[in-house]
């Protein structure tokens, strides 16, 4: 079965640079979530989109922005990178219309961002 695809899988950036992370949800899933997981930390919700509109916002820094495109893929844009942004960034998708459990989110493999 198709899973959530994230690219790139690994990314190394310098401080103050920008980064763009991409997420391709499972086909027919209309909701995308972004989570950040720092070293030894638990996943933290950043932002979500439903039908290409921002749905909810969590602890996302103002330096970050995201959007969901017409094909439902999503991109997380990160500017003025700081050392503390080094983390695993997970994208998850879900769809209430596809059946299954209401809270079931399907997570991608993550993008490991290292800021030097």
């Amino acid at each position: 079965a198709a899973g959530v695809i994230q690219s790139p899988r690994h990314l190394i950036k310098e401080k103050r640079e920008t980064a763009t992370l991409k997420c391709y949800p499972i086909p027919r899933h209309d909701t995308v979530y972004w989570y950040q997981q720092g070293p030894g930390q638990d996943p933290q919700f950043l932002i979500s989109f439903y039908e290409k509109m921002q749905s909810d916002k969590g602890s996302i820094p103002d330096r970050f922005s995201a959007q969901q495109f017409s094909d439902y893929h999503s991109e997380l844009n990160m500017s003025s990178l700081e050392l503390g942004d080094s983390a695993l960034y997970f994208c998850a998708s879900s769809s209430g219309l596809a059946g299954g459990s209401p809270n079931e989110q399907f997570f991608g493999p993550g993008t490991r961002l290292t800021v030097l």
Binding site: T31, M53, F107
Partner: protein
């Protein structure tokens, strides 16, 4: 959004049944209770979900008391491959989405 509370760690021998309890003191009336499993450097994976009483699937059972203030994930006959962190995230509704708020998960170590 209040987070859920779980034990930080648990150890178990292979073949034993493991029960992990989560406190959901601020659960909303329409919230489901969900459990996820996470291996190192991988995304969380949905295990099971329930609203009340007992739910069972091919990998686990979920017990939810009538007041829904807690839940217990039961893993029958664990194996070494069940070593992972287990989460019972709090759900929260946005416009069309249902984001998860992860608290401190339970690190389960299965011993041979």
């Amino acid at each position: 959004l209040a987070k859920t509370t779980q034990p930080i760690s648990m150890d178990s021998y292979e073949g034993q049944e493991v029960n992990i309890t989560c406190s959901h003191n601020n659960i909303a009336t329409n919230d489901y209770i969900t459990w996820y499993q996470q291996f190192p450097s991988q995304g969380p994976r949905f295990i099971i979900q329930g609203y009340k009483t007992k739910v069972t699937n091919e990998v686990a059972s979920l017990f939810i008391p009538a007041d829904r203030k807690s839940s217990t994930l039961s893993l029958p006959r664990v194996s070494l491959s069940d070593t992972a962190v287990y989460y019972c995230p709090q759900g929260g509704s946005g416009a069309g989405s249902y984001q998860l708020t992860f608290g401190k998960g339970t690190k389960l170590s299965v011993i041979p």
